[in-house]
Symmetry: D2
Subunit: 346 residues, 4 copies
């Protein structure tokens, strides 16, 4: 075993930050060299995330320490709109970057402006950023210096639809993605929408018609499809911590059977260690705390519809785990290094 690679994590107080630490602490090929937080610099990581007491007691540094530290790769676990400043600043530094925000996932600064209602400060980043979904872009990711880690909902929707659209098997318009997510997707900061009595024993839709992940899903799928994709994405908030299940409805362009569809999906995801095509409709606990995406596909003869169910843990395959999968590719490790934990169920 060679010398361990040195990793920096920018932004320690949020869920993606702590989830990166949770996974990296047992990664065989890397060491955490730096964790930063502006608001909590000087405190121990375990003072903020008390479950790490005795495990990760590293003192948090201000981000200004990044440039004084010898690093091979940096994760940006920052809010969108903030992350772009750091990418701009760090882009020419001698470390690779994985940005977990939405700042470099879309096709252009103009589309970003339209959906995020915010100007972009670093348009050059769009040219070099690779969309970090290894099942679509593995080879590009390996060569990349800057990876835009996908959003949580898009990971389920894109993995669920990629085989159908790549093969031209469904109408590219009229696709419905009805998604349900756990609350950690809303972040670590208390808000009315995440107040326990507003979530517990409750359920509702939100972001109808205008959620930012809509365009991320649509534009990514467009690149796989010969016809223009137009889809409806509706997120809902589940009273659970982790997990996304997307129920996807599409219309086949020709006759198809469930067996055909299963064969297609098995073939498409062959050699991709984290996608599992399952014989039963999956539940979110089937993948909890793991980097797996489970996909179930079926055709309904009565209605003619194809249905795809796709589930992930939003903090792992939907954020930190996928980022580490990308890191593994970028640094030349086995794609599954550090990511072999079985799901936690129950």
């Amino acid at each position: 075993m060679g010398k361990k690679k040195r990793i920096g994590i920018i932004g320690a107080t949020g869920y993606t930050g702590s989830e990166l630490v949770r996974i990296l602490v047992n990664h065989p090929e890397v060491e955490i060299a730096l964790i930063t937080s502006e608001s909590r610099a000087g405190e121990k990581f375990s003072d903020i995330h008390t479950s790490f007491r005795g495990i990760v007691d590293i003192v948090l540094q201000p981000a200004s320490q990044v440039e004084q530290t010898d690093l091979d790769l940096v994760f940006l676990a920052l809010p969108h709109g903030v992350s772009m400043d750091f990418v701009k600043k760090y882009h020419q530094k001698p470390f690779k970057i994985i940005d977990l925000s939405g700042d470099f996932r879309l096709d252009s600064p103009e589309i970003y402006h339209e959906w995020y209602q915010k100007g972009h400060v670093y348009k050059e980043g769009f040219d070099s950023a690779v969309f970090g979904l290894p099942e679509l872009n593995r080879e590009h990711i390996k060569q990349s210096e800057l990876v835009a880690n996908p959003g949580c909902f898009p990971t389920t929707a894109i993995l669920g639809l990629a085989p159908l659209l790549s093969e031209g098997m469904i109408e590219s318009r009229g696709i419905i993605v009805d998604s349900k997510t756990g609350v950690t997707g809303a972040g670590v900061k208390p808000k009315e929408v995440t107040h326990f009595p507003n979530v517990n024993d409750n359920f509702k839709a939100y972001g109808l018609k205008k959620h930012r992940h809509t365009i991320e899903i649509q534009d990514t799928l467009n690149k796989l499809s010969s016809d223009e994709v137009n889809l409806q994405f509706t997120p809902h908030l589940l009273p659970v911590d982790r997990g996304i299940l997307s129920t996807i409805y599409a219309r086949p362009v020709k006759e198809v059977t469930t067996a055909d569809l299963n064969a297609l999906y098995l073939r498409y995801y062959e050699g991709h260690p984290f996608v599992r095509i399952t014989p039963e409709a999956p539940s979110i606990k089937d993948v909890r705390a793991s980097n797996y995406c489970n996909i179930y596909i079926t055709h309904d003869e009565r209605t003619g519809n194809i249905m795809v169910l796709s589930v992930i843990d939003n903090l792992v395959k939907g954020a930190a785990g996928q980022a580490i999968q990308n890191m593994n590719l970028m640094l030349g490790f086995d794609e599954t290094a550090g990511l072999k934990q079985a799901p936690l169920n129950p």
Copy 2:
């Protein structure tokens, strides 16, 4: 105030039985004259449902007591397949019947056989049974001796789609009803699917393509539509006790705006006290423990889709509350008698 009407409840151990009692105990026009249970006869109702100690301590009787009791109306809170025997036996008795099972909701014994995979013992019941959705059938219910109380999912889907299909505003094929329900819909009996660690912090779809409520929804809507309805219904299990939210997707046949749709829904449900057209996407706690159905409707210009969100408490508007609303109509009371509780939120 005249003499109170005398009510019998057949089947006391399940959730619909206890929910009927919970509401009826404060109903101004009726008294509970009989509660039956075969398995627990001789025990007090409050021995089984301990929250009723000191409130409803009636001793449970075997069903054989029905015919020796002076009753104005009987609720059948029994499993499907069992209920039909009781309807057959009681149909000519001098009391009205509200059947909360699925045994008389469909159009014919043949369709019943196909979807419930069970022969029917009382085909004559189909001729006289009225589908007990007051917002569609109020006048028929008033005249009926036998009401088939609607299923929980169908209540949300039918109320959500009735205005659109009655007015011929959407394509009658290709409708998607993506529903999410609380666990009480699965009944009082412990099963693997309702075991706490299988539900808590979890979420999944079930009954894909073949849930019995599909045909109940489709056949009821067919009667409102000039074109044949074909729809996809997908239920999911939420880690909550009560509540159903259905997210419905449909394609308009002509140009339409959200304002048009709101106007249509307000007009269609005018004079119906339990349907609320809301300006915000509703949550299931907005109606919990009440007989309301909240409906939100919107049109997405980007995709062209119409979306309807419809929520109820599955044990109230989806079962016992709707049954009591039907009772009020059948016995000539105010439609809202005993049903004026505000939702419990939180």
Copy 3:
């Protein structure tokens, strides 16, 4: 039936405010004449609490409207430290006051200062305020112009221990009250401690050794006991919305049996409609959304300990319901008026 009494609710945005409205809206003897909110004045009550749409659409007023409104009784649903100003201002007005905060529950301004770490602005209020626990103070409450509504934890602990201490059956020192509460007790405002992922699937103690309800419990029980009471109170936070269960441990001063204890409790609470002595250990859903307090008592021969389990819904018997029970006494209604709902379980 005479003219309905006119009620004002000061403070509409919190849980006690909305819970008062939920119960009062169906109260047979009163009407809600005024609801105030400083921060949301001009909006409808149902804009804030959307489950009330079509039920309570009253426009919120600033508190300055109190003095221009004809009112028989006012509920103060305000934070402690704020409420005292209103009591001072309203005390000579021609309406009765029920204060739901902690400002007038203790024995003196000095004790208040010690446990609430705040000076008191209206010391005179302590002379006239009656501690509003009807099971102890029914006759005083009937005569009172100012009732200090008890805290939620104290309601369980005091009702659970009152018979034992009144009869001198236990050692007055060394009592343990281990309490577990739902999250609504922490209020409507989002905080880190109420952020869904911090509560869901979680459990912890808080306020160890110094929770303010300790002194409220201890001082109230002291008045019933010949020896000085000293007790340990430990609250814990449950991942549920509503409900408190207190597990209480005490040492008998002489030989006693479980049968003796049951007889004592049945006798002590005879004629008190909301206390139920139960033959089984109660759960919080046995009383949810109702004004009941269920109490279970037992003696362990092996250890010699007496154990009392006491449960309430913290928003009903622990706040709004008890306040309405007090209102019924103060205004000369039946003690149970408006409070006859059976618990909601499940």
Copy 4:
């Protein structure tokens, strides 16, 4: 690295069985050579526990295969009363045994009979079985051929009280252990008590005065104490999957401060990698999915009581994780091998 040790797991369908597999699958020193199930033999492990698809697809064998398999150590993940038969049968075999049931934890067959209300078939086992709490018995465990893995509640209570009783700092009578557990402690089989609507948004005590873990706690602590221990143990059921928090109350025999107590606990658990003495009251998510036991200790000057809060994950440190910790000791591995995962929070 030498040849991996070969492990058998007897009983695959329950939670302790699947949790053993979840941890062992990434253990660096062992391989799972056999998993048995009588009821599901012939199926794949992942057919029963679908989250293991593609990870552990081993075909389940009948227990009769144990004797035809080359094994170094066997875990018995069986119900009490069943496990004793297997221990009897396997005791002279050339593999070590860790029994996760309660069959060999107590001091004698007589005490077993009294508390488990069942005769014991293998009294000889009591002589050789070592109580598998490594923090108390590390050296004995290393030499043992048969380890009785502790119960979940006892692990919290014993670790929480051992320093105090070993040092004679508290009265050995009158100790209160008020415990709260997640639902997985009740096992994988659906029962009324684990039916989702009976647990969700609910909370209650159970097993009052007579829970079997009482004697396991008391007898183990007795061995550490010069005076006879008598304690009250009260379990409660939390609406969570995993985790136990025990709130423990004891009376000091002499003056003591919180600082003294912390110093004692830090000293007592020095060199024990899975016990963390924490500066804040711990929550069950602080240890979820990990093998840690967090302990918080404090003295209340006002009441004189010592309070200890002790938390574990009942399936890990309370069952499978502790069993693997014992395996590590028995097979000469590092005590933490395979157990280095950080807790999952949220």
